[in-house]
Point group: D2
Chain length 352, copies 4
């Protein structure tokens, strides 16, 4: 932490600032400039995190020096984290595509979607049982029945299951049915939920909040990791800006910036980012080109009848085209797209 | 709902769009322009809310006509909602100021703060027992002990208590100790929590999310009201923008815009909006001038030692000055500031 | 300037950074922390403004300490700047309201508007002769004819004239007809124009750009002042955010933040900020409550027939109500609203 | 245009709205819903662009149906516009990379940079002679001398020259030296400048403003085209958001969205978007993957000594690596990167 004083700070002010910093267990180092004095604070900076230094007389600015996250930081791990999922790894050489409907609407549509996406190389099935909807009058998912359909479809298709959990009371239930727990953008700073998913032994797919900085996202991951769960997958899904041609603004820079800060794998959700089926292709290509480890794509047997997010869902045929189109981009990025369905019996039961 | 076709939409496309709308139980009305056809949909528009019309061939744009919220809308109620609190009402002639520390740090600081703010006309005591903090390494509140301190301070000071609830599992606990349940900005779209606070008989103070539109905020209120709780207080606390001179950008327009859309009372939180003690005065004045029904202000016996948000907390003396300064602005707005402590024994026990 | 090194910076890296800073004429002061070294740079910081320190090996962060603006900064002047206009001063005790049509549409509408607003206490006439329009197919003003109408109306009404200049080639022409030159939001970083209006002897009303930080705004003012023109009036008119209920988001905090940074007067434009006639009242009241020195308000004899911005223009009757409503807020803020037309013959000819 | 009435609109209100629309030369079509009446306006919608319909009694919402731009719209042209430059075309199969220093700092650095980038496949030399700088105290370019150095370097290197013009008075001068006129982000809505560059016979590289929607960008292009210049190249360079890890937020979706709206070529500027040399690679790859026609990249012989934007400039070696890395991404996108220097004598003199 570096503290810069005002031009009018007195020697007494500076003494008091020093005392306050030293009381928190850090050492200080004073450097007097022509107009300002700079007080360097040496030691564990997070001891100062809650000290309201700005409210002390004579303080003009407080500049943190250290990153506020630790477990998630690049220097914490020996190399990139690889998270096993079914027979593949997120963060490995293979690009992991998680595909499926926005909401689980029934057994048949889920089964046919799982088969279709598995055939094209998807390595996980996504599908919402509990849906966060802006309006209470929208379809909010099948709930527990949806979870059971997902679990059943996993054993048939060989695809591990990713689904959202929205309530601390349901973490155990969802973890009993799913392979990866998703924390949605609207809950990225639901700290009670973050702590709770930090206590289960399932990877957590953490979506960036609509107005979360990348620092906020990494701190949210830190909440999960801090409870003992090291398997956090970060996911860029677009942020809220003034531009209204797209549902959100896909912040493609987030991918390389995160890669420079953390050892955790980074995925992208081109469906929610653009909100339009015609943008899923270009945004998926851009995400791979920027270094993403995987994609989360909405696919539906018949998008015009989908109960949620139909506007951004791909048909089976569109998904097939997407996967074929992506192959040369994955190769250009030094990665590869999986081909065909996953090897059988690779799926570990979440109960196991 | 109005559907505008593309220039190249065929008669078949238009037929299919019509069928889809009529299948949802609405009537259609076709109007052919020179380049586009416009399909008006007559009937209950929310039946179309989840129909992905944009994914149908020939659809260029879908324009909703109706407001998506009902219970919260101005036309739903005969007049402005007034929510009783202690001996006053939120949304009445009196400006209700809720003041207190960011976090409950102990019995003494809470008691002295309660007394100080009550003496100056505050009509509720705010204070966090469970604190949402961006970093897991920050002070996260005293938890249940904090709730007990709040409840005890209420009986001593005569001030009803407002405190945040962050977890569905704690709603009952918090409702047993507090008079008003606060849902924080980060949980504004935690729909599980919104539903849960909709089931208790305590007013809910709902803070606007950092990237929530006013429509999103009203839909969040609708979630609470839809569960049977009509007592929602909306609170503008700043949104996230590119400007970094302030912690958030206080959207003062939100106050008159909300007043034109809803019968619910609207408060402002100048402490979190600006993030600086020196801005609390100007932003409070602006909020009253724009029509706010109340203010939520952070006050601490000694801000430089506060465990959270000390930079934006007022001292007792600064709070006194604030309340005096606000009086003529309240009068100019046709309202009045309460003077002196609340009449005794007005506080209804939350258990009652 | 403070330079923080990376954890892996070598002694050589640090030497090279030091040399680079010292080559720019500053002294350095090294402070070694546990993981990072901090290099304080002592001397004239703007000599380092263009040195790409971040590109040097071993540099993690560069933290400026000084404000980048000088002439505009609070400490540069002995007190608040007051800019004479007609018989009043901007930045004095009186709230200066500049009112008139968005565009000058003709002689009669201009004359009747001038008379109407003067009668209610406006102290300047606004009106666009050259209009910046998002679409080339919109009405773009009467040009030079508009300027002449403005000048003629000044001599009849006693109201000094404020009008926009958009082109460096027209600065002299506009300055020959108007009393205050307005630089619009879209040209706030048109540096050629800023320099040019810095060379004339007319006050400049500088509107904040839609995505300009307050620091950017003050640097734009610095461009004008740097050319010798000390009379810059800053104007908050809303910024662009995700919220679409209003045309722009009126950043009311800008007013007190600017007052804490600069001696220049600060006005507000509630018409463009909200984009809706019904918001002009609440936003005007909020602006005065937050400390604004004046307001810029669009008024039109018949808004539904206005050639531009009719949706946000007030009728004469609405303007009368506004001015009456504002009086108690001005008083509460320690200011006063002018009453009735300006004393005659106070207007200095711009040619003089 | 579609007009939706309020629930309380009277028959008289509706008659008046109709009259107003018909007076502008359009026909109306009335459709009565259960709560609202919808008035379709048939005919040339831009005749209504300036009619303040929202200010008429009974009007709740006004919904435009047509796109506000014409010359720039996809349907206006038979196919994608290809703009000849040197021996290549922007918008053709070849990816056109424009590279060079942020500012022209002298003859030697310009010559060596031109040679280095030409050797790696750049097809134009970028370099600023007039620099828009946020602070008046920053280096603002060599001006006319810089233009002359650019022109001289063109004849030596065979690379056509792209440089910014900031002032209407300098358009002719710059057009006399450069092959492509750049309009910078801060001048994207400098309508006087847009009109002026619309009158010269040089392609215009139009950078998106920091808070410009894509619609605003296309309307700015329309300003240029409307004056007779059909050769506009659009350039995404990042928008301003709350995220501060990057200089701007690179809106990669802009590329496919623009491609779906306009026939004009679309480039990307990864240097300004990210503001960091380490992000130029990932953002360039993402831009090509999303369909960009070209890139604008800052290259400097020695970034740590650059007079502007050194933090985001590549060294010659980094540029070589970039171009090699991009080749497989260009191929994956169905395009190709040029190899080696341009064929000689291809450069048309701008005077010609």
């Amino acid at each position: 932490m570096i503290i810069v004083t005002t031009e009018t700070a007195t020697a007494d002010d500076i003494d008091r600032i020093r005392e306050r910093v030293e009381a928190a267990g850090l050492r200080t180092h004073i450097s007097r400039g022509e107009t300002h004095t700079v007080i360097g604070c040496i030691g564990e900076e997070d001891r100062l995190a809650d000290v309201p230094l700005r409210s002390l007389p004579g303080v003009a600015r407080v500049l943190p020096v250290m990153k506020p996250f630790k477990l998630a930081s690049l220097s914490f791990a020996a190399g990139p984290t690889r998270i096993p999922l079914g027979g593949t790894e997120i963060g490995g050489e293979e690009i992991v595509v998680m595909a499926g409907p926005c909401s689980v609407e029934g057994a048949d549509m889920l089964r046919s979607t799982a088969r279709a996406v598995a055939d094209e190389g998807a390595r996980a099935l996504r599908g919402g049982a509990f849906k966060p909807r802006t309006s209470p009058y929208s379809f909010r998912g099948l709930g527990e029945e949806g979870l059971e359909l997902l679990a059943r479809t996993r054993s048939e298709s060989g695809l591990p299951v990713v689904t959202e959990v929205m309530d601390t009371r349901q973490v155990e239930l969802v973890a009993g049915h799913a392979d990866v727990l998703q924390v949605g953008a609207r809950n990225m700073q639901n700290f009670a939920l973050l702590s709770e998913v930090g206590r289960v032994r399932r990877p957590v797919l953490l979506k960036r909040g609509m107005s979360a900085t990348l620092k906020d996202l990494l701190l949210a991951a830190e909440y999960v990791m801090n409870q003992g769960n090291p398997h956090v997958i970060l996911c860029e899904r677009g942020i809220r800006t003034f531009e209204d041609a797209t549902r959100n603004t896909f912040d493609v820079s987030a991918i390389p910036v995160l890669k420079a800060e953390t050892h955790l794998p980074v995925m992208a959700d081109p469906s929610h980012a653009g909100g339009r089926a015609d943008l899923v292709g270009p945004l998926s290509r851009a995400a791979l080109a920027a270094g993403a480890d995987g994609l989360m794509v909405e696919v539906h047997p018949d998008p015009p009848t989908a109960l949620s997010d139909g506007d951004q869902s791909l048909t089976f045929q569109q998904f097939r085209t997407l996967m074929a189109d992506l192959a040369p981009f994955a190769r250009a990025a030094g990665r590869r797209m999986p081909v065909g369905p996953p090897a059988t019996a690779e799926v570990r039961s979440p109960a196991g």
